[in-house]
């Protein structure tokens, strides 16, 4: 009954681990298909979404808010999918996209570099040097992306509940560790523990609805009571206000929607 996120480098066998964990526990796997979800829901091309979560942002992009928007779409799609629990997500930075939710089992799968190079060589039919270059470049990009968006290094083991290095330990070993951990008391989901997930899903949904027009707003949700934070003063009667009033009628599960103008957003605002 848990939510499991598996973070991995390319060719670290993370995908295989995720799929086997899901099979073992009877969970659903969510991966890149999430992007398809987000792309159809918010009418953005999938390629843009992939670039948003894969490449480290360029200088121009740092200035524009388009990446923020794409990320909000992905987050909205992801939280929507995990809100009922029993899922394994093995996309990029799942543990960070689901930040703030208690009871998420956060796993990182790594493998030693030579092994990954070997895998890549076999799959793509390229030389060892080429394979190594590709993997290192990919790693750097992912690290850069996570650092720039979340301010943390995905290689920091403190972010995870469990880090398994595939090598001496096999994929099957990793699967068995994860399944056992998922069954432990700390990751058992209840109505109470799913409430923050539902709230986050709602907050992300609203952020996704607003982000294109109002890229700088923050959104929190607690028991269906949504707060939109803005740094602009005097929001009454403004576009944001009207938009939000319409949203509160449109979206199910919103009991109360307020706009707070404040310089500092709370840490849990999406």
């Amino acid at each position: 009954m848990a939510i499991i996120t598996i973070s991995r480098g390319s060719y670290s066998m993370g995908k295989a681990v995720a799929e086997q964990v899901a099979a073992c526990l009877g969970y659903t796997v969510i991966s890149r298909d999430l992007l398809l979800d987000a792309s159809t829901r918010f009418h953005v091309s999938e390629i843009k979404l992939i670039r948003a979560i894969h490449d480290a942002p360029g200088i121009l992009e740092r200035l524009s808010h388009s990446r923020q928007a794409y990320l909000a779409y992905i987050r909205a799609a992801l939280t929507e999918r995990v809100r009922d629990g029993n899922v394994v997500y093995h996309g990029l930075a799942g543990h960070l996209l689901l930040k703030g939710i208690p009871g998420v089992l956060k796993v990182r799968i790594t493998a030693d570099l030579e092994r990954r190079v070997e895998n890549e060589m076999q799959r793509e039919g390229i030389s060892a040097q080429e394979a190594r270059d590709i993997i290192l470049k990919d790693d750097n990009q992912r690290r850069g992306w996570t650092k720039s968006l979340h301010g943390v290094d995905p290689w920091d083991s403190n972010l995870y509940d469990l880090v398994v290095r595939i090598g001496a330990l096999t994929v099957a070993d990793a699967v068995s560790f994860i399944c056992e951990a998922a069954r432990s008391e700390g990751f058992r989901t209840t109505d109470k523990s799913l409430q923050p997930v539902k709230d986050l899903a709602l907050a992300c949904r609203i952020k996704a609805e607003l982000v294109e027009e109002f890229p700088t707003v923050g959104v929190t949700c607690q028991y269906g009571n949504v707060i939109v934070y803005t740094r602009e003063k005097g929001t009454g009667g403004s576009r944001l206000h009207k938009r939000i009033e319409a949203l509160s009628k449109e979206i199910q599960g919103v009991f109360n929607l307020e706009v707070h103008s404040s310089e500092n957003f709370p840490a849990d605002a999406v």
Binding site: K192, T220, Q222, N225, K233, G237, N256, E258, P266
Partner: protein, 600 residues
């Protein structure tokens, strides 16, 4: 002209420092004043005796006496008694309401601290607005402005005027008497009211006809619901079975319903229970919330909503408890703190219900909101506890007068002593401070108020602000700094007719009082303008008076306490003050200069 000396530069440095600190407000204004009071003798700019002469000055003694007399009048409820007849005379047209209440409040504030008068009338004005369907925004600003203008009717109406005579002492100028400013003051009040009557429709926000709710709330009923109401609910027998305890905080977070009272077995009733208290099975709670939220709460938690208060009918009666709209005052110690840090529930047993800021009502996660000046916090509590909170300061609100402990039987004594003080100074020409202190003492002796009540009514901030800045005025004069600046300025602008000079001084004082406190502006400007006037062959007393009056001309920004108090309930924005305030400020200057030209 004298050359610029080191001491002059030091004094100018101190002035610059004072202005800087007044503007940035890193420390409170009265602390700045004390800082000045201590630094000046350390720099040998004044003697130690001169440094503290402010504490024994006539201005400080007068203000203490005026505060005590005001508190005495307040205690007898004389002022409260005025409210009902005035409102009756006012009738139902917006203009008449504005005129009647403005005139009354102006007269009251010419003797009392004007924030007191403003707070006293607020509930009455709200009632009139509601019953006569006049937008509150059309009433509060004119009345608030009149209240500030009323401070110019007598020499004790506002701190700058009280201070004036002390600042004239070094120049050996004839002091002003209590009613010397009255013609100008009355003209200013009339001018202010006229501005709103004539230009009201252009300069006042065209609020909607309701009692101050959201602009989109069309019907009064809808608006009522916007704020919420009190509901009594009962918990079922099995409420606590097989579940985590439900606390007061849980109901807040989940349903935005504030528990304002709850019963603990067997039948112990708690008003404004603390957030961690858990609800019991088979008992009553009273929540404050919107109908839909309370319905949701009852449905989700299996509670039953009673049609009306039953168990708490007596305890939550209007004479015992109620809801107030408290405005976070300028320079309040609460600014920047969250409601959780302030912890009204545990410290005062008062429940915060909502916060109103920038035309938005905040109900969710209220505990985490950092309070700002002008935020309107709706609070529920018993009147006794609300009074305790009011005494702590920082929040401006008024408590219905009928529940305050009044001593109406002392009204005659209070009136006698006020009259005595006035007669002493007017007829027998006794120094203002002595006359007023006699009146204050008389009120204590005849038990209009106790000596402890008298002491606690004195606001030490005002005292030290006044006393601390007086030595700066002395230093400015003694070192020749004032004369130097005055001559330099006059050399720059050349010879001007006295009337132009007075106008310029008026504009200068107005601008100063917008950025620094009015007392600070007065202390800094009076020595300066007196020197300028002497050099330009204008009347130095008039120049000083212009400063004393024009520092009350603070309408353009809601920095004055009265404006800050009315800003929340009137749903005004700063831009509303800029719009209406500019018109009134200009009218103020024109009327003031015209009156001076006519009468003096």
């Amino acid at each position: 002209m004298e050359p610029l000396t080191l001491n002059m530069m030091l004094v100018m440095g101190m002035i610059a420092l004072a202005i800087f600190l007044f503007v940035v407000e890193w420390v409170r204004v009265d602390v700045v004043a004390i800082l000045i009071m201590v630094t000046l003798p350390l720099l040998h700019l004044v003697t130690p005796k001169e440094a503290f002469v402010g504490l024994s000055s006539n201005a400080v003694v007068s203000i203490i006496a005026v505060i005590i007399i005001g508190a005495g009048l307040d205690k007898t409820g004389i002022v409260n008694k005025l409210v009902a007849p005035v409102v009756k005379i006012a009738g139902n047209s917006a203009s008449r309401v504005v005129i009647a209440i403005s005139v009354t409040i102006a007269i009251i504030s010419s003797f009392m601290q004007n924030i007191g008068a403003a707070a006293l009338f607020l509930p009455a004005i709200q009632r009139v607005a509601k019953s006569q369907k006049i937008p509150l925004s059309k009433l509060l600003m004119p009345i608030g402005f009149s209240c500030i203008l009323g401070g110019t009717i007598t020499l004790v109406g506002s701190s700058p005027l009280i201070l004036l005579n002390d600042l004239l002492v070094p120049f050996n100028l004839k002091p002003f008497r209590l009613f010397d400013v009255t013609p100008i003051g009355l003209a200013l009040v009339a001018g202010g009211i006229a501005c709103f009557i004539i230009f009201g429709r252009f300069i006042l926000p065209q609020g909607v006809v309701d009692d101050g709710g959201h602009a989109d709330a069309s019907a009064a009923g809808e608006d009522e619901n916007q704020w919420g109401e009190m509901y009594e609910l009962t918990t079922p027998e099995d409420f606590t079975h097989y579940r985590d305890p439900v606390t007061v905080r849980d109901l807040r977070d989940r349903y935005l319903c504030n528990v304002v009272a709850m019963t603990e077995p067997p039948d112990y009733k708690t008003i404004s229970p603390s957030a961690d208290m858990a609800l019991h099975a088979n008992s009553e709670i009273v929540v404050y919330g919107r109908k839909e939220d309370v319905d949701r709460l009852a449905a989700a938690e299996g509670m039953h909503i009673r049609d009306r208060l039953e168990a708490y009918k007596m305890d939550l009666e209007a004479s015992q408890s109620g809801v107030v709209e408290a405005v976070v005052a300028p320079r309040s110690s609460l600014i920047g703190k969250t409601l959780r840090e302030v912890n009204l529930r545990d410290r005062f047993r008062i429940s915060p219900l909502s916060i109103y800021r920038q035309e938005e009502t905040y109900r969710a996660k209220m505990g985490e909101i950092e309070l700002q000046v002008g935020d309107v916090v709706r609070l529920f509590g018993t009147w006794k506890r609300l009074k305790a909170l009011q005494r702590e300061g920082g929040l401006l609100f008024s408590i219905p007068t009928e529940v305050e402990e009044m001593r109406p039987e002392k009204a005659v004594w209070a009136a006698i002593w006020l009259a005595t003080a006035l007669t002493m100074t007017m007829v027998f020409n006794i120094q203002l401070s002595v006359a007023l202190m006699t009146g204050a003492l008389g009120m204590v002796i005849t038990r209009v108020l106790t000596i402890d009540e008298a002491y606690s009514s004195v606001d030490w901030r005002t005292i030290f602000l006044l006393a601390g800045l007086i030595p700066l005025g002395i230093a400015t004069e003694k070192t020749g700094t004032a004369a130097w600046i005055a001559h330099t300025v006059l050399n720059l602008i050349g010879t001007v007719p006295p009337i132009v000079l007075l106008s310029v001084i008026g504009v200068l004082a107005t601008l100063f009082s917008l950025v620094i406190s009015n007392v600070g502006a007065t202390v800094l400007l009076v020595p300066l303008v007196v020197n300028m006037a002497i050099a330009a062959h204008a009347d130095p007393r008039m120049a000083a008076l212009v400063v004393g009056l024009a520092t009350s001309n603070s309408f353009v920004l809601p920095t004055h306490q009265v404006n800050a108090l009315y800003m929340g309930p009137g749903r005004y924005r700063t831009v509303d003050f800029i719009k209406a305030g500019t018109v009134v400020s200009v009218a103020f200057l024109v009327v003031m200069v015209a009156m001076m030209a006519l009468f003096y």
